[in-house]
């Protein structure tokens, strides 16, 4: 009997991090916090870096196996400045899924930032994202290029006309002496049924009217696509899903953007 009790006690102590209060809890003792802010601090401002090279991936939901491979492949590519995970980190918007992916991405050599996807907004996912990664709309400047990461998951707000937040975007797109180019990053692309059709015009116009606007980067469809929704010549680029073992390497030199598809 004493042995049994000791066995129970040992099992309990050994597995302290395995106690779960609910699949819907939005944080726990081991979940990461403020990943985006911390990683952007590591990244720095990139002043003097004349070749900006970063990875665009997304839709890592149900794909931890592929995420492990992804880290190895990205770490082997020279001179990657940072990685963007463009939404649908999770399938069900739960803490465990985001923990699994974020723990794996800790193995990346370059810092990464995450953008929210529609699946991440189901259940308590938005709370989990806010805790683990940070704001839903945020921007950072690297090497004179401003990356405007934002929530474009209109359907999750039942197309209330507030998402994407165009007034916020316009504020972010204002000219600045230290910024030569702009890149928008969001999960749902403008040509999707999940994007608020009432906002398409205002959204694309806001980008088209910004001098030095380079590209809109998206995910969501799980298929690579390059399209031009208007006559501005601005490319809208969709990356394939993590689960399809494909990502994009994007390079910006002299305010010119180019990219290549990488399969792994």
């Amino acid at each position: 009997m004493r042995i049994l009790l000791l066995f129970f006690l040992a099992l309990t102590v050994l597995s302290c991090n395995h106690f779960e209060f609910s699949p819907n809890q939005s944080f726990d003792r081991i979940s990461l916090k403020d990943v985006n802010v911390n990683n952007l601090r590591k990244l720095g401002n990139g002043i003097g870096d004349d070749t900006i090279k970063f990875v665009l991936t997304g839709d890592s939901q149900r794909s931890r196996d592929e995420t492990v491979e992804f880290c190895k492949v990205v770490n082997a590519i020279p001179n990657i400045d940072f990685v963007i995970l463009d939404g649908d980190i999770s399938e069900f918007g739960v803490l465990k899924e985001m923990t699994w992916i974020s723990r794996t991405l800790e193995d990346l050599r370059p810092p990464y930032v995450a953008v929210i996807g529609n699946h991440d907004e189901t259940a308590r996912g938005k709370e989990v994202f806010l805790n683990m990664f940070g704001a839903l709309d945020y921007s950072f400047v690297y090497g004179g290029i401003k990356f405007i990461c934002h929530d474009s998951n209109s359907r999750e707000y039942n197309f209330d006309g507030q998402v994407p937040n165009i007034p916020w975007l316009k504020e972010e797109l204002k000219p600045d002496a230290n910024i030569t180019g702009y890149v928008a990053v969001s999960h749902v692309p403008v040509n999707s049924e999940d994007f608020d059709s009432k906002l398409v015009k205002g959204y694309t116009e806001a980008f088209a009217q910004t001098p030095g606007f380079l590209a809109s980067l998206n995910a969501h469809t799980h298929n690579y696509q390059l399209f031009y929704p208007d006559k501005s010549g601005i490319p809208y680029i969709i990356t394939s899903a993590m689960g399809s073992s494909e990502f994009l390497v994007v390079q910006i030199v002299n305010n010119k953007l180019s990219f290549e598809r990488v399969f792994f």
């Binding site: 819907n24 149900r62 918007g93 465990k96 794996t104 938005k126």
Partner: protein
């Protein structure tokens, strides 16, 4: 007057019925009480327990659980848990050890962000295929049951059990089945401990 008479008869009928059913309603009296820490149905949860089957190797627990704000956000959870104890090892005559008990339970989390079904006006019927509020779980537990009659008499408590339980749910199983090299079974099975007092 007619109405009044009708009402009286009705009340009499109900009263007679309750009396007649008092015996048959006995099955509603629980056979035990349960209190649990963690186990995916609350930081702390408590409820009543019913023995099942003639050999009493099965149990059905009706639980209410709570997660406080500082432990992961405020959540209220109801759960119905079924456990079966196929093996029993006697420890002298004062305890029993049930080493491996399979089980299943359903949890329902009450929260404004969690719907039973995604609204059909907002999404086509197969857009999201699961329920946010209702979760099916699979569990396996170990339990030690001490026969308290032997030590303290006349308390009305027959036995006290202590258990440790590992459970997973549909979310985690789907993730696991598609990622069998990066996810291990101990990633998707989460723990809870509890005690069961038998009347």
């Amino acid at each position: 007057m007619y109405f009044f008479r009708f009402k009286l008869i009705f009340i009499l009928l109900v009263a007679v019925n309750i009396r007649a059913n008092a015996q048959s309603l006995k099955f509603l009296i629980p056979d035990g009480a349960v209190a649990q820490y963690a186990g995916s149905i609350g930081y702390f949860s408590a409820g009543v327990s019913y023995d099942l089957f003639p050999n009493k190797r099965g149990s059905l627990d009706a639980m209410y659980g709570f997660v406080p704000g500082n432990r992961g956000g405020v959540l209220h959870i109801a759960a119905a848990k079924f456990t079966y104890r196929p093996w029993s090892i006697g420890v002298k005559d004062w305890a029993k050890f049930y080493p491996l008990n399979p089980g299943a339970f359903i949890s329902y989390t009450f929260h404004k962000d969690l719907s039973f079904k995604f609204p059909s006006g907002q999404y086509s019927h197969d857009y999201y295929y699961w329920s946010e509020a209702m979760r099916p779980h699979l569990s396996v537990s170990s339990e030690v049951e001490v026969n308290t009659d032997k030590f303290i008499r006349n308390t009305g408590i027959k036995a006290i059990g202590f258990y440790i339980e590992a459970n997973t749910n549909d979310y985690y199983l789907i993730n696991y089945l598609q990622n069998t090299s990066a996810l291990k079974l101990n990633d998707i099975f989460l723990l809870g401990i509890g005690t069961r007092v038998k009347f």
